[in-house]
C-alpha cells in the first residue's frame, strides 16, 4: 500500500514537472551547416505541437541575441493566415543553408566564477522578462557547453527551466551520438564532388596529381567521405589521409610514386587537420618554404603545402583544390536522410523537454540492415568538449585509405535527395531578416 502511494506521489510530481507552461526560445550557434535550419524547422514543428509552449522566440546570433534582447517571434513568422503552421515556409527553411537566426562564437564563463555572474544574471533576467521556460540550442561542442553551464547555474535559482542541446556539426566529432545532424549533407557534397573531380582529372593522359583538402581539424570523418565514390563508379581517390594518423612526408612521397605507377591521374584527399609526428599541422609546416614579406612562415593551407612539396619532389603536374566553405553550405545537394533526421531530432528535443527532461543533448542511435535511426537524450555534461575520432577499423593498415567497414558506416547517411524548390534557376532560400 505504501509502495502504491509512493508510486502515485511520484507520478503526480512527474506530472507537475511535465506541465511547465510558458514561452520557449531557440538559438543557433557555431559554424554553418546545410541542415542546421532543418533542425530549427523541427524545433518549430515541435513547439507548435506542444500544448505547454505559448510563443516560440528565435534568438538572433545565439546567446548574443539573448544578452542583447535581439529576438523574433517564430510564431508570427511561421504562422499562416489561418493561424496554422506555414508548411511552405518550413520546407524552404529546411533547404536553406547556414543558421537562419544567425550564429555566434560565444563561450560562457564558468558558472561559479565572478566573471560570469553578470552574464548569467542578464540571461536569467531575459528569461524572466519573456517568461521563457524552454531553451533549445542548436550547435556544436561550444553550444553544448553553453547548455551544460547554463543548466548548472540555473539549478539553485528561482526559475524553473528546461534546457536542451541539439547537436549540429559537419565534423561528426561529437561524442554520444552515432552521427551528427549536418554531417550527412556535407559528406554527400564531398562524395559527389570527389566523383566529379575524378572525372575531371581523368581526361588527360599525362601524369598528374590532384590534392583535395577537406575540412576536419581534429577528426577525419569528412575526409573519409571522399572514399564513397568507390561504391558507385568503382573509382575513388588513390590516397586518403586523416588526422587520426601521423602524417609522414617520406611515406607520403612513396605512396604518391606508387600510385602514379598504377594510373596517370592520381587524386588525393587530405584532411586540413593532418599533423606531423611533432604535432605541427602540415598546413603550418615550413615544408613549402614559403615566407611572407616579414619573413614569417606563410600558412598556405594543407593541400597547397602538399602541392608545392610534390612539385618539388616529383616534378609532375600537381594541382590543389580546397573545398572550403562550400562543403558546409552546399544545401543544393543536401542529403535527404540528413535533413529528415535533423528535423526529427529538433522536434524530439521539444518533446523531451515537455516531458520534463533538461540539461540533455539529443543523440542518434543506429540500427543496421536495414539502416534505422532512433533518437535518445544523453546527459550533456558528460558529452560536451570531447572529440570523437574516426575509429581504427575504418582506416586501412597503411593509414592512407578507408576500409569497407568505414564506407558501410558512411553510406546510409548520404542517401536521398530533398525536393529543392528552384526559382529563376537557383534554389530558393528562406531568409529571416535580422
Amino acid at each position: 500500500m505504501l509502495k502504491y502511494w509512493k508510486k502515485y506521489i511520484r507520478s503526480i510530481s512527474e506530472r507537475v514537472i511535465v506541465m511547465l507552461k510558458g514561452n520557449a526560445i531557440v538559438g543557433q550557434s557555431g559554424g554553418p551547416t546545410a541542415a542546421i535550419n532543418a533542425t530549427l524547422a523541427g524545433v518549430i514543428r515541435g513547439a507548435f505541437e506542444c500544448e505547454y509552449i505559448d510563443t516560440l522566440y528565435g534568438a538572433f546570433n545565439g546567446v548574443d541575441g539573448m544578452l542583447n534582447d535581439r529576438i523574433c517571434s517564430i510564431n508570427e513568422i511561421f504562422t499562416n493566415s489561418s493561424s496554422e503552421i506555414d508548411e511552405s515556409k518550413l520546407a524552404l527553411l529546411s533547404n536553406t543553408p547556414a543558421a537562419a537566426l544567425g550564429s555566434c562564437r560565444c563561450k560562457l564563463p564558468q558558472p561559479g566564477s565572478d566573471a560570469g555572474r553578470e552574464i548569467y544574471e542578464s540571461l536569467l533576467a531575459f528569461f524572466k522578462r519573456h517568461n521563457i521556460r524552454y531553451f533549445f540550442y542548436i550547435g556544436g561542442n561550444d553550444s553544448m557547453d553553453t547548455v551544460a553551464k547554463l543548466t548548472t547555474w540555473l539549478q539553485d535559482k528561482d526559475w524553473e527551466m528546461r534546457l536542451m542541446g541539439v547537436p549540429k556539426t559537419i565534423d561528426n566529432d561529437v561524442v554520444g551520438t552515432d552521427h551528427t545532424p549536418g554531417f550527412g549533407s556535407a559528406a554527400k557534397f564531398i562524395a559527389a564532388t570527389m566523383q566529379e573531380i575524378l572525372r575531371d582529372t581523368a581526361v588527360y593522359s599525362l601524369k598528374a596529381v590532384t590534392i583535395v583538402e577537406i575540412m576536419g581539424r581534429d577528426a577525419g570523418w569528412l575526409t573519409a567521405a571522399a572514399a564513397l565514390p568507390g561504391r558507385i563508379c568503382g573509382d575513388a581517390p588513390s590516397l586518403i589521409y586523416l588526422p587520426e594518423r601521423v602524417f609522414d612526408y617520406d611515406r607520403f612521397y612513396a605512396d604518391v610514386e606508387a600510385a602514379l605507377k598504377v594510373r596517370n591521374n592520381v587524386v588525393i584527399a587530405v584532411s586540413e587537420g593532418v599533423r606531423l609526428a611533432d604535432g605541427t599541422y602540415v598546413g603550418a609546416s615550413a615544408q613549402s618554404g614559403v615566407v611572407d614579406v616579414f619573413g614569417h612562415q606563410y600558412l598556405s593551407g594543407t593541400a597547397k603545402t602538399l602541392e608545392l612539396a610534390v612539385k618539388k619532389r616529383l616534378g609532375c603536374k600537381v594541382r590543389s583544390v580546397e573545398l572550403n566553405i562550400l562543403q558546409r553550405c552546399a544545401s543544393h545537394i543536401a542529403s535527404k536522410t540528413d535533413l529528415d533526421e535533423s528535423a526529427e531530432v529538433g522536434r524530439a528535443a521539444v518533446r523531451a523537454a515537455a516531458n520534463g527532461e533538461s540539461g540533455k543533448m539529443m543523440c542518434f542511435t543506429r540500427q543496421n540492415e536495414p539502416y534505422k535511426v532512433g533518437v535518445k537524450s544523453e546527459d550533456i555534461a558528460a558529452i560536451a568538449n570531447q572529440i570523437r575520432a574516426v575509429p581504427d577499423e575504418y582506416i586501412n593498415n597503411e593509414g592512407n585509405g578507408i576500409t569497407d567497414t568505414g564506407i558501410d558506416y558512411l553510406l546510409p547517411l548520404i542517401q536521398g535527395e530533398p525536393d529543392i524548390i528552384y526559382e529563376n534557376g537557383m534554389p530558393k532560400h528562406f531568409v529571416i531578416n535580422r
Copy 2:
C-alpha cells in the same frame, strides 16, 4: 532555259555532295565542362539518325587518339540488344561531367609547314584506313583551330571529308555564338554557390570580407554569373571585378571600405584574370609579398593575393575561396537549358555535315521574350582564335558590378534542372573505358 539547266545541274551537284557515305569520328578536346558529354550525346543521336553514316567512332583523347589509332566504336557502346540507340546510356552520358572520350591539348602545326606534313599525312592515312568521311570535334578555341587547319590541309587531297566544330567552354568567350555550350551549367553552379556563400557568411555579426575567385583568364562571363543571386534572394556580392576592367588597388580598397560601412559581411567575386594597369595579373603581382624558398615570387592565386592585401590594409577578418575546377565539372547542378542546347548543337552538326557543310562551327542565335535559341553554322576560319569579352553595357560604370542588362542576358542560360539519376546517394555517371 539555260538558267533552268544551270539550276538543275547545281541541284544535282549539291545532291552528290550531300550523299557522302562512310564512317564518322567524334573527338573531345580542351578543358572539361559539365555539358561536353551532352554534346557528344547529341552527335551520337545525330549519327544514328543519319543514313549516310555507317559507324561512328570515338577518338580517345581527341586528335591524339586519331594519331595513335586509339578509338572505340560508339555504335557498339550505345546500341542495345535490339540494335537501337540505348536511351538510358545516352541519358547517363549527358549528365556525366568532363570528356568521356578523354581530351587533349594538341595544337596542330600550320597546314603548309614542313613540320606539319607528317602529322597531317598520318591523320589522312587514319581517315582512309577507317573510311572516315565525317569528323566532329567538340572543344574550345584550340579545337576550332584544329578543325580550321585540317579543313585547309585536306582541300587539295584526294579524300572528301566534312569537318565540323562544336564549341564547348565554360568561359563563354567564343566569337560568333550567343553563348557557348557548357557555360550555362558553370554559371548555374556559380550562382547557386554564391547564394550559399552569401548565406554562410551572413551568420556572424562581425565585420568580415569573403573573396571568391572565379575562372576566366581573358573574359569575365563566369564571374558575372556571381551577380545572379540578386534576382532571387535580393542579395548579391557587394563587389564584382572582371578582367574587362583594369584592376586598381586604391579603388579596390575604397570599394571594400565603403561596402563594409553598408553591411557586416562583404562578399566579393573576382575573376582569376583581373590585371593591373601594367598588364600583370593580380594573382601574379608582388602585392602579397610572398616569396618561395628560392626568393621567387609566389603565385598564390588572385583571391588569396587580395585576401592578404585586404588583411594588411584593413585589418578585418578576410577569407578567400577558390571555386577551382568544381565550377567546370559540377554536373550535379547542371543547367537543363545548357544540357538540352548542348545536345541539340551536336545533333545539328551532324545534320549540317550530312547536308554538305564543312569547315564550319555550330553557333547559337538567340531570340528574347520568350528566350529561344536557334542553331546556325559559321565559317570556322573566321572564328577561331578570337576572344569575346563581356560587353560594356553588362558592366556598371564603377567597374565593380553587373548591370540589369547583363543579368537579363545570363538568366535564361541557367534555367531548369536535369533529371539526375542517383545511385547510392551519388549522381550516376557513364564511363567509357579508355
